[in-house]
């Protein structure tokens, strides 16, 4: 050995140096690490003096406060995941809703995503706001799918008579003070009214709205507003005119003292044209108080759900207000 070291002393010095560096490196990397503790095969989370508290014990304590509500949310998200197909269109819709809401809250309230994340966590138990929006929109897709498959049960003659559902488009000529329009505003209004009476008809209403409407949110889509019924929160005169039209009809110019002049077209009264509209779903769901829960339970059955704990199943059914038949 001595002879070997004599002959290779330089290599030995280098080796000792590297071993020393390695020991220091290991020490340095681990010095701030938490200690590990396992007692009777169970991982310990924390200890006070010699008393240990294991992950199993902590699970039981946490379950008392959060278990059922967390399980319900996981169940709800699981049902949606199992039944709603993730298409590019849906992903785009979700991303658009998230960015629009974040942008709105940032611009109008000065609170951005972090604030919305806190709301989603505190009020709804979701890990963050984007997840909350994702499951809200996916839930609407699920409700829409179910109501579509059972349209005859919900879009009844009674429903149509009560709510007067239809799809509407409109053109708005905006006036700052509609009761006292300026000369320039009057010229714009006259030009639009003249064009409508001379150059356009109900069939070309979308082109007219695209060219003349001053409503930034709808002009680009030919004035398309979407589903309207007696629950719609719209200007009174507008709603009254919109609900009085037959499919394909266009109203007279409607004056509103806050906005200016509206021209309204009833695009359709066919169920197929508003079947997926969120406002239509909202009317059906508000007419049928427990329908949203019953839909979730029905799709849970379709997803071949199994509960290993009867108490968990009973709690979820209680939360959904359904019995074993989903009623």
């Amino acid at each position: 050995m001595k002879e070997f070291l004599k002959q290779n002393w330089f290599v030995a010095v280098i080796a000792v140096f590297f071993i020393g560096i390695s020991i220091f490196y290991v020490y340095d990397q681990n010095k701030d690490n938490l200690p590990n503790k396992v007692v009777d095969g169970k991982d310990v989370v924390f200890s006070v003096d010699d008393t240990n508290f294991t992950a199993d014990q902590l699970y039981d304590e946490l379950y008392k406060s959060y278990g059922k509500s967390e399980l319900f949310l996981k169940f709800y998200m699981g049902v949606i995941d199992a039944n709603v197909e993730e298409t590019q269109e849906l992903t785009d819709q979700i991303n658009s809703a998230i960015s629009q809401t974040v942008s709105y809250y940032t611009n109008y309230y000065g609170y951005g995503l972090e604030y919305l994340n806190q709301l989603a966590r505190y009020y709804y138990g979701y890990p963050d706001f984007p997840t909350y929006v994702e499951y809200q929109i996916k839930a609407e897709t699920l409700y829409s799918k179910y109501i579509g498959e059972h349209a005859q049960d919900y879009v009844t003659e009674e429903f149509i008579a009560k709510h007067n559902p239809r799809v509407i488009s409109y053109c708005l000529i905006k006036l700052d003070d509609p009761s006292n329009p300026t000369a320039e505003e009057t010229d714009r209004l006259n030009a639009a009214q003249k064009a409508w009476s001379e150059e356009y008809s109900a069939e070309t209403f979308a082109d007219f709205a695209k060219k003349y409407s001053e409503d930034a949110s709808t002009a680009g889509s030919g004035g398309k507003l979407g589903y309207v019924d007696d629950n719609s929160r719209l200007v009174d005169a507008f709603l009254k005119a919109a609900l009085s039209l037959e499919a394909g009809q266009v109203s007279e110019w409607i004056f509103d003292e806050n906005y200016g002049y509206f021209l309204i077209k009833c695009d359709s009264k066919n169920y197929e044209d508003y079947a997926t509209d969120a406002n239509f779903l909202s009317t059906v769901l508000s007419d049928n108080a427990n329908l949203a829960n019953e839909i979730v339970w029905t799709y849970a059955q379709n997803a071949n759900i199994t509960f290993t704990d009867e108490a968990v199943r009973d709690y979820i059914m209680q939360q959904l207000n359904v019995d074993k038949d989903g009623e």
């Binding site: 290991v26 590990n36 992950a55 049902v79 890990p127 071949n304």
Partner: protein, 296 residues
């Protein structure tokens, strides 16, 4: 050559070991399935980590606090009677039957509720115990005393006039006139004339604080010009004796969040509160840092 190979393998092993550590504590039956949708399984582990995230360290701090409180404070007959009285008062206000009410509160038995109330009573005593155990050191550190003050402002930069008023005020007090009556006559702030507890950490003018820290006995100050030279303080130190200031001092400490945090840190350090789970450690570092034991 074999030795060199062995050396290289040892070095690599040592370097790999450097990456180990900071473990996540796992459930012993974490893979048990609670709900299953087709191939999708929700396991106990899934639920556990969601609950940990929602809780963000609160339950661990609460559990450890309860363990420490029960180690530090013994249950007395007086506490037991107080807890029992709370239960009886609660029972008297109920419209539900007792078992339903207990379940709504998250308890299965009355004994569990009693235990919870006792722990709560003991928690309130823990801060008092710390103060009792460390009173001499706290008095030394905080230098508490009771004092009343008058502040005469330099109106329109009239320094001579203010000094004249201060001399008159001191004269009135020395002649036995009530301090508050004098304050009403000269001071811009009458509430300052009430007897108040001051310590080394009180928010008072620097020059006044220096005077208070130097005082050993009750005394009336000479005029003290404030630090930004906008007026004059007159300070009447009324009590400096420990026994006389103790009650006010303890009350002020009990309402002081910085002090409570210090007490928590003391007891969590004393009882070797140790975290072995990295997730819990991260939540507590973020949300309850004062509970993490101080390293020697």
């Amino acid at each position: 050559m074999k030795k060199i190979k062995l050396l290289v393998i040892t070095l690599i092993t040592v370097l790999l070991l450097a990456g180990c550590g900071n473990k996540v504590a796992k459930l012993s039956n974490g893979s048990d399935v609670l709900i299953q949708f087709g191939d999708t399984k929700i396991t106990r582990s899934d639920l556990y980590y969601s609950m940990l995230e929602s809780d963000a360290g609160n339950t661990v701090i609460s559990l450890a606090s309860n363990m420490i409180v029960n180690l530090e404070i013994e249950t007395t007959d007086e506490m037991l009677a107080e807890a029992q009285e709370q239960i009886e008062t609660y029972k008297a206000s109920l419209t539900d039957d007792w078992q339903t009410a207990l379940e709504k509160l998250g308890f299965e038995t009355e004994e569990q509720l009693l235990e919870q109330i006792l722990t709560s009573i003991k928690s309130e005593r823990l801060v008092s115990k710390y103060i009792d155990d460390n009173l001499d050191a706290l008095i030394e550190e905080y230098a508490p005393l009771l004092a009343k003050m008058i502040f005469i402002k330099y109106e329109n930069n009239d320094i001579a006039g203010a000094k004249q008023k201060a001399a008159e005020a001191i004269n009135d007090i020395k002649n036995g006139e009530d301090f508050k009556t004098v304050a009403e006559k000269y001071s811009v702030s009458v509430p300052m004339a009430n007897e108040t507890l001051y310590t080394r950490y009180s928010s008072v003018d620097y020059n006044v604080l220096q005077f208070l820290l130097a005082v050993m006995e009750p005394t009336l100050s000479e005029p003290i010009e404030n630090q930004n030279s906008s007026g004059i303080y007159i300070v009447q130190v009324t009590k400096t004796n420990v026994e006389q200031v103790k009650e006010s001092f303890i009350a002020s400490l009990n309402g002081n969040q910085d002090f409570i945090a210090k007490v928590n840190n003391y007891y969590f350090t004393k009882h070797s509160f140790t975290i072995y789970d990295i997730k819990t450690f991260e939540y507590i570092t973020t949300n309850y840092p004062s509970y993490l034991p101080t390293k020697d």
